[in-house]
Amino acid sequence: MASVRIPTILRKHTEGAARVAADGDTVREVFTNVVDTHPGLTSSLFDGDDLRGFINVYVADEDIRYLDGLATPVAGSDEIAIMPAVAGGA
């Protein structure tokens, strides 16, 4: 199972859990399983079939937009991190 890290702002949909485990061979499959269990997350993760704006998703620390997007393969030991897009320090 992949481990999905939930940002603070979305934990109201996961009963406060910071991590959710879900099966799937791709990010899309894992997220589909996650929203089955936590339907409140659907509109935070998906915009139709696509990834919602203003969130970044990382598999093993790498932004999936530069991999295969939602089709990015996920190994069982991978962490998928969801993070809001924010301004960096400067």
Partner: protein, 312 residues
Amino acid sequence: MRYGDVTQAIGNTPLVHLPNLSPPGYRIWLKLEGMNPTGSIKDRIALAMLDAAEAEGRLGPGARILEPTSGNTGIALAAICATRGYSLTCVMPANTSRERRQLLRLFGASIIESPAEKGSNGAVRMAQQLANEDPDVVMPFQYGNAANPRAHHDTTAAEILSDLPSVTAFVAGLGTGGTVTGVGHRLKSTNPAIKVFAAEPEYADMVYGLRNLDEGYVPEVLDPDVLDSRIKVDSRKALAWTRRLVAEEGIFAGVSTGASLQVAVRVCDRLPSGSDVVALSPDGGWKYLSTGAFDVGDVDDLADDLSTTLWA
């Protein structure tokens, strides 16, 4: 070397090979932006943004300037504003290091604190609101000012190409996105095979404390298409590499440098053997001493203790 005033001493920073930290078959080089006059890469964009505003006639005598910053850009702006007779107010998250406040005040800037839990996002929003309410104030706004990436295109990238024509990859941190965008475009227009990677700081959970996702923000100056990948680095890894840099290469740098260095090492195995990878060091470690980042102790424990202040 002689210079007519301090702004002329900006840039032309050293590019230093890291013989001990480069993976076998690769050469990692670090561009030491901490050698700029106020100690960070932000001298380049502060000068470019102020020169551009003056050229546009937006800065008269005694002009008041307002800018959201976590420190480096504010310090760089303050140094130039002092010499040109402008007053500067910085909107800065409340959890930034003590040294940054000391330096800003020393250079004559005022500080307005934005809530720590809203991170730089909160500073950006507060500054935009204050600027809207005060039409006489001039906001350079590094997150949206084309002079920011242009400064890196015209100076930072030009220096890299001149010092290391064989450069095959470039790594820099993501704050405004100005460095990766400006340097990345110049490098790729010179040689489209050059790869550009962003090292993204993974802030503490607290800093992502938006009310909803619509409060998210992607800086206007960042061109995501110039990147070949974007890799996040947590505070533990960044701190560990920053400390290895001191111990093994004798270079004392800020924590963002460790993040870029970690990404530079990570991406080597996707580059051809013999590649020259340039990582950018935005500042030295001096302004972070009071955070405890360089105290004696276990890196994991330190990173946990510092997770809310380290990147701020």
